[in-house]
């Protein structure tokens, strides 16, 4: 598989629509634009897949299939509004998740076209260093820490956590958001906008 380095390409700062138009304008001859398009959208599709399919493996399969289909449509000039390509990718993801639950085969959905193989590296999840996260967790209040662990390790719903701790569900949500905001600050990735 040919791997295209998108990180320093001229396309990094391009709008989504510009990327889509470039891929349509020069089908198969714009690998840097395709690589940047893939880097940008594969992450979004993976997150969508994690939410709707509930695991890394199905999310990875979904990402692959959505990106194959989207890139083929772009190359063929079949995306009618390239400036709204984000909506198009989301629509494809929704359709494939819907079809996933109806158990249609990949071939039925994608046809037999070979995938544009030079950009299809799987998206790897970001990993936080455990020592760093542990240190940040220790800065939280007992309640914030408890709610985060019950949520993410315990996989308990807000309602269950609320019952367990004798709190209201809204209160659990507020405490969870505050805990994550503090972790985010401590980890040092980005800042919450003025909200």
């Amino acid at each position: 598989m040919q791997k295209t380095q998108a990180s320093h390409s001229k396309w990094n700062g391009a709008a989504d629509g510009e990327l889509a138009k470039a891929i349509t304008r020069e089908p198969g001859r714009c690998p840097d634009a395709e690589a940047e398009f893939y880097r940008r959208f594969a992450r979004r599709v993976r997150l969508y897949g994690l939410r709707h399919l509930g695991g890394e493996d199905p999310a990875r399969d979904l990402t692959h299939n959505v990106m194959v289909l989207t890139l083929e449509k772009l190359r063929r000039g079949e995306v009618r509004e390239p400036e709204r390509v984000g909506s198009f990718v989301l629509g494809v993801a929704r359709m494939l998740v819907h079809e996933h639950y109806r158990s249609r085969s990949r071939e039925e959905l994608l046809g037999n076209d070979p995938p544009p193989d030079h950009v299809l590296e799987p998206v790897e999840p970001n990993r936080l260093a455990s020592a760093r996260l542990k240190k940040c967790m220790e800065l939280l209040s007992e309640r914030e820490r408890a709610i985060l662990v019950l949520t993410y390790y315990g996989e308990q719903s807000t309602k269950t956590i609320a019952q367990s701790l004798g709190l209201g569900a809204g209160n659990v949500r507020v405490i969870r958001h505050r805990g994550i905001a503090q972790l985010r600050e401590c980890i040092g990735i980005g800042k919450e906008p003025g909200r």
Partner: protein, 190 residues
Amino acid sequence: MTTPNAPSLLPLSDLVDYLLGELSPADERRVEEIFFEDEASTRLLELIESIREGIRDLVTQAYAGGVVNLSMVQKMRQSGLTLREYRLTPGATVSCKAGPEDFVLVRLATGFGSAADVTVDVDFRDLETNRTAPTLSRPVEVDREADEILLIFTGEEVRSYPRSLWTLRVHGRTASGETEFGPFILDHTP
């Protein structure tokens, strides 16, 4: 596409609830339509997801913080973690011998009812030297369904203590004012 330092178009709270599947269908669709066109929201979602994975990893690596209910304990056991369990009632002394387990679970069982602002004070006495340590006080959560307080320590931490007596007293605010529960006593042998 948004510029690299642009703020997320979606608030953190929406993104947290989205990944948990706790938004209404309409809000979920709205969030998806925005983050599919917003790089900053995507990065924030990735961070939340990495925090989720990081917390799962931490507990698996014997992180004892934040474990407060029996469902959670059951989940830990199902994941293959080993917990040695001690259930303490007021006034009774329970012998505790630490082994190579991942965790030691101490269950304080009495009628905590709706006590609020609950803290546990721990007095430690070294039974070999008879020395004591300053009282350690920390806020705790009550598992309201079990009506118990669950304290979890890593096996490594417990094993580091000498032969000792741990006396735990719980304080909380009840309808009748400040109330003490206990004492709960652990007789620890390394």
